[in-house]
């Protein structure tokens, strides 16, 4: 990957590879400055970064399920069974 010959500016091809580091605040200050400078003059990459943020937003919404009441009861029963083991507890019987 070669930078533009005339300046220190990033190309779009380089910039898209830096997006995650940028969003993670993992870019070193000099590189972050160059990245932001690129976004300032590149509407396409600005859109790309927005798309990446919107992708993350969609991903966060996937985390919506909860355990069913029935499953919860079954798991609590595990705990009660474990409680009943004598001190120096042996393994619970696990049917495999």
């Amino acid at each position: 990957m070669t930078s533009h010959l005339n300046t220190n500016r990033l190309t779009c091809k380089e910039a898209v590879e830096l997006v995650t580091d940028y969003l993670e605040a993992a870019l070193l200050p000099e590189m972050e400055a160059r990245f932001k400078q690129h976004l300032q003059t590149c509407p396409d990459c600005t859109i790309y970064v927005d798309q990446m943020r919107q992708t993350l937003h969609t991903l966060r919404q996937l985390n919506a399920e909860t355990t069913s009441g029935e499953a919860q009861q079954e798991l609590l029963q595990l705990f009660r069974d474990w409680q009943k083991q004598p001190p120096g507890r042996q393994s619970l019987v696990i049917t495999e």
Binding site: T55, L75, L78, F79, I94
Partner: protein, 230 residues
């Protein structure tokens, strides 16, 4: 199964040791406080199942693995020394169990050595043909005029959150290489910190970021294709 399984040992780099809250919880569990266990279930059970799904063949098996994990947690309580956080410890038990079970099912299992193999290959995040060539007279390696990304700002929020969009994203995640799927699931779906993910998966921060970058790039691409077909 015996009570001396290595999985419950606190191996690996300690990213964060047990907090005061962890120790309180531990004390409550050891004295048989069911409310404490119910709280743990509420916090972690669905995440355990989700993570197990990466390694095993079905939701049902993932549920079994999660259940076995809780058994392992309870059996290991007496030996847990707080050198890692409770959460890290629980999830390490899960990943060990899920990988073992996945192996028994003869699925290809994502051990962290496979992460190394995945990391060695180069993977551009965007199809290189969408950029101008490097000898372009004016804008080398910039987006080509016909291939630049189109803004999603006009897409209504309800479409972003629709079942169809969700299905598209889930499908994209399901076909990710295992290590990328692991990192994305924990970071971007479960909302774990990068330190927590590195702790459970045994990755450096830098490697974790590379895997995350590749996963995110693919999911973005899947969404772009999906929205573009609308």
């Amino acid at each position: 199964m015996t009570t001396t399984e290595p999985e419950t040992q606190e191996t690996g780099p300690a990213r964060a040791s047990a907090s005061a809250n962890d120790l309180r919880l531990l004390g409550a569990l050891r004295s048989g406080d069911e409310v404490a266990f119910a709280w743990l279930l509420d916090q972690y059970h669905t995440s355990l199942v989700r993570l197990a799904m990466i390694y095993v063949s079905s939701q049902a098996v993932a549920e079994e693995v999660a259940q076995e994990t809780w058994i392992g947690v309870l059996q290991g309580l007496d030996r847990f020394e707080g050198r890692s956080s409770l959460k890290t410890w629980i999830f390490r038990i899960l990943t060990n169990r899920a990988k073992t079970r996945g192996q028994r099912e003869a699925r290809s299992v994502p051990f962290s050595d496979l992460a190394t193999a995945e990391l060695e290959a180069d993977e551009p995040s965007v199809d290189p043909s969408r950029f101008n060539p490097s000898d372009h007279p004016q804008w080398p390696e910039h987006w080509g005029s016909t291939d630049a990304p189109q803004s999603w700002d006009a897409i209504p929020e309800q479409q972003f959150l629709s079942q169809e969009t969700r299905a598209c994203v889930l499908k994209a995640i399901a076909v990710l290489p295992p290590s990328q799927r692991e990192v994305m699931t924990l970071r971007d779906i479960e909302g774990w910190s990068s330190a927590e993910v590195c702790g459970v998966l045994g990755l450096s921060e830098a490697n974790q970021r590379v895997l995350l970058h590749r996963a995110r790039s693919k999911v973005r691409q899947a969404l772009e294709t999906y929205f573009g077909e609308g």
